[in-house]
């Protein structure tokens, strides 16, 4: 046995300022709302003070975006592409700085921000840069919508920014983006990158704040398009706000995905896929495989292998390069995970976690498994958005489909089997925007992503992602 010595990524590379303003019309400006603090969830240390945008500030940002829209949309696509390529390259050059800042502000392991988030962020900008001068071949016309109001969550702060900003700009729209209250810092660093890339002022505006700021962005009459990623609850509010206004909306909401393992699955890789499905990013993933549906005949073997594997997960300092599980993003989210886990226990499911020491300070939750879960249990129905897996069983493929689809959500699903025909049979019947076969949580900018039912509407990524930002 050899213990891994601490291998922390240095935070020297990040030049944290004590306070940050709003980014409007190419300048950092004061906000008129009460400034708020953003903390490192792994230590509860305050990282910086961040300006809060009031409705007036949002109005300023939207007017700046409106003013910039004519010039930006009037540029030839090939010129817009140059800016996007430039942004993509700067992101790659500053990837380590962005990754460290993302892990500091969000709590996710540096291994994930370095190896997953940042490469995907750059890839998204490169991908949509390529579309900017080829819109006439996409089939949605070439006319942009105008000003896009975009509200993004805290689980993948920079990646969700990329998913929203890259296609919007490629299509000729300008943007007012509201990052999540608990994770505003990488968006503000992105604002700096926009300046470095000499993006014309007003094309990208970033307004920080809490729910009211987001509501002001969504409700602003000069906003032509609303894009939101977050909870189904807030998604409903937004749909209500924009109903009847003529604003175009895309919503990417919650999920309760089934990861379905058949008895002929490649077991060792299925175990990895289950771990990656629910413990990646502490389970703060809308498409997380939070329900494991395992064929009853292989349940015992699979659970034994899964438990053994969970015993090797390394929880701790997000900046340590060997950390697998980082911190829960906020005290509020931790409380929700705890409460739902308690409900799971009280409703009769059996709770299990590997021996796992939690740091004293910060927000932490151990990787947790519930067995003996039935469809009627709360933890099988509600999105927990944490490192908590509910294990259910099935007997036949038809039953697996029935249980997988028996949820108000429909964002993603996973199928594990060595039988190709069964994969196709399942994929045809699963009501989910993404169906992964023998893998999970795999993303690519060329592949569209989005939900059925209460998981939202519209698609982001790929050719389909252009439709949301063009006047079809």
């Amino acid at each position: 046995m050899f213990e891994y010595a601490p291998a922390p990524e240095s935070r020297e590379i990040v030049d944290l300022r004590p306070s940050y303003g709003l980014f409007i019309d190419g300048e950092f400006t004061e906000g008129s709302g009460p400034a708020f603090k953003t903390v490192n969830p792994a230590t509860e240390e305050t990282l910086a003070e961040v300006a809060c945008a009031s409705a007036d500030d949002v109005d300023r940002a939207v007017r700046a975006a409106r003013k910039a829209f004519g010039g930006w949309s009037g540029l030839p696509g090939s010129e817009r592409a140059k800016y996007l390529f430039r942004i993509a390259r700067i992101i790659q050059e500053r990837a380590r700085e962005l990754a460290v800042l993302e892990s500091l502000d969000n709590g996710k392991p540096i291994r994930e921000s370095r190896d997953v988030d940042l490469p995907l962020v750059a890839a998204h900008f490169f991908y949509y840069a390529g579309w900017a001068d080829k819109l006439q071949y996409a089939g949605f016309g070439t006319k942009p919508l105008g000003v896009a109001g975009q509200v993004i969550p805290w689980n993948f702060p920079l990646l969700m920014l990329a998913w929203k900003v890259a296609p919007a700009l490629a299509c000729g729209n300008t943007v007012v983006l509201k990052p999540a209250e608990t994770t505003p810092l990488t968006a503000l660093l992105f604002a700096d990158i926009c300046r470095q890339a000499e993006l014309p002022p007003g094309v990208v505006n970033i307004v920080t704040g809490a729910g009211e700021t987001g509501a002001a962005v969504v409700a602003h009459p000069e906003v032509d398009k609303v894009a939101f990623t977050g909870s189904t609850e807030v998604g409903r509010l937004i749909a209500r706000t924009v109903a009847g206004t003529g604003k175009k909306v895309t919503l990417e909401l919650g999920g309760k995905a089934a990861n379905i393992v058949f008895d002929d699955a490649p077991i060792d890789q299925a175990v990895e896929g289950i771990v990656n499905g629910i413990f990646f990013n502490q389970g703060h993933v809308c498409c997380a495989g939070s329900r494991l549906l395992v064929q009853e005949s292989v349940q015992e073997e699979l659970l034994a292998a899964l438990k053994r594997r969970l015993g090797t997960l390394r929880l701790g300092d997000p900046l340590d390069k060997n950390t697998d599980i980082g911190a829960i993003n906020s005290a509020e989210q931790l409380a929700r995970i705890r409460s739902l886990s308690e409900t799971g226990e009280s409703e009769g499911a059996e709770r299990w976690s590997p021996a796992c020491e939690l740091p004293e300070r910060g927000f932490w939750f151990p990787p947790t498994l519930f067995t003996g879960v039935a469809q009627s249990h709360t933890i099988a129905r509600e999105e927990i958005f944490g490192p908590v897996l509910s294990v259910l069983t099935f007997r036949t493929p038809a039953e697996a489909v029935e249980k997988a689809n028996n949820t108000p959500y429909g964002l993603s699903a996973g199928v594990w089997t060595e039988k190709g025909s069964r994969i196709l049979w399942m994929a045809e019947r699963l009501r989910a925007g993404v169906v992964w076969a023998n893998t999970f949580n795999k993303f690519d900018p060329a592949s569209p992503f989005g939900g059925y039912k209460e998981s939202g509407y519209g698609r982001e990524g790929g050719l389909h992602g252009l439709e949301a930002y063009l006047d079809v």
Binding site: M1, F2, E3, Y4, A5, P6, A7, R111, D115, D264, A265, P266, I267, D268, Q269, E272, G273, T312, K321, N322, E418, N438, T439
Partner: protein, 312 residues
């Protein structure tokens, strides 16, 4: 000696039973296995952990020379290196030579604790009769080999003649007597990960004490995903039968980084029980000097030139 009382006792009773068993093992998804091995390859092993890993790796090396040009002099020099690799580094696990040089190595290493391993069974291709293979093995054992590294008949394996492969291993194992048997799968010729898993189980069922990736004569040799799959196999085999089998990746492991990645793989797949020279070996030659160089660097904070490390 423990007699097979496990549910696996009958799986080699017929060609059909053996085939059914091997094809009933869970499949291996190549993309997933590659991804897992690559992820484990990103573990950052620094400072004290690195020092510990380097010492562990040195103690696991099977220092190897398998050339047509090998001579008594060459083997004696390598044995000297095996006993005193350099500085205060511990001796290596074993030296590995061709059968006709076993006696030379055995004499040079007598009483040192460093084992003498010999390849056998018409190494590296395995293309001869069973009688010749058994005689080859018996010759090496008689000359003083503590360990026999045999090759499986890949042709028989790939044509589905599993029972032939099984019976050959059983026969060679019998010829080994007290010597430990390492079974070389030559994974570069088996190609698919499903084959690697099946061949691993086949070798373990037939009595292998160790399973070994490669002869070093075929590329690719010991890749991380292949070693991962073999580590999963020995882990699962012990769960099923209670018997622990060792793993030896060989060929292509040249740097300290490669060696440490292998140790991480062991630790996070089979577990710490395998992290000793009794259960994990690294078949290599040039690796040893890189380990010594990195060891020196950790101790002194600077790299010594290559001339400070002996070439034998």
């Amino acid at each position: 000696m423990s007699v097979a009382t496990t549910p696996l006792a009958d799986v080699a009773s017929s060609e059909a039973a053996l085939r059914a068993f091997l094809h009933g093992l869970p499949g291996v998804d190549r993309v997933g296995a590659d991804q897992r091995a690559a992820m484990l390859g990103t573990r950052s092993i620094k400072t004290t952990a690195k020092a510990r890993a380097i010492d562990l790796a040195i103690s696991m090396v099977d220092l190897t020379t398998l050339e047509g040009a090998d001579t008594r002099g060459k083997v004696r020099a390598m044995c000297a290196k095996a006993l005193r690799p350099g500085g205060d580094a511990s001796r290596v696990a074993a030296v590995c030579v061709y059968p006709d040089l076993v006696a030379v190595a055995a004499e040079a290493l007598r009483g040192s604790g460093v084992k003498v391993a010999s390849v056998a069974t018409a190494f590296p291709s395995g293309r001869s009769s069973l009688d010749v293979k058994v005689a080859d093995t018996a010759f090496a054992v008689a000359a003083g080999a503590d360990e026999i590294d045999m090759v499986i008949d890949r042709g028989a394996f790939l044509s589905g003649d599993y029972l032939k492969v099984y019976e050959e291993i059983v026969a060679v194992k019998a010829a080994c007597g007290e010597a430990h048997l390492k079974v070389i799968l030559e994974t570069g010729e088996l190609v698919t990960y499903d084959n690697v898993r099946r061949a691993s189980w086949l070798a373990m069922l037939a009595g292998a004490d160790f399973i070994k990736t490669s002869t070093g004569k075929v590329s690719p040799a010991a890749t991380l995903p292949v070693t991962l799959i073999m580590l999963e196999a020995v882990r699962d085999f012990r769960d099923r039968t209670g018997r622990q089998v060792g793993v030896k990746p060989a060929g292509g492991i040249r740097t300290t980084k490669d060696a440490i990645k292998n140790l991480v793989l062991v630790q996070e797949t089979a577990g710490a029980d395998w992290l000793t020279p009794d259960w994990f070996r690294l078949g290599a030659s040039s690796l040893l000097n890189d380990l010594l160089m990195q060891r020196e660097k950790l101790a002194t904070g600077r790299y010594a030139g290559p001339d400070y490390f002996t070439l034998d």
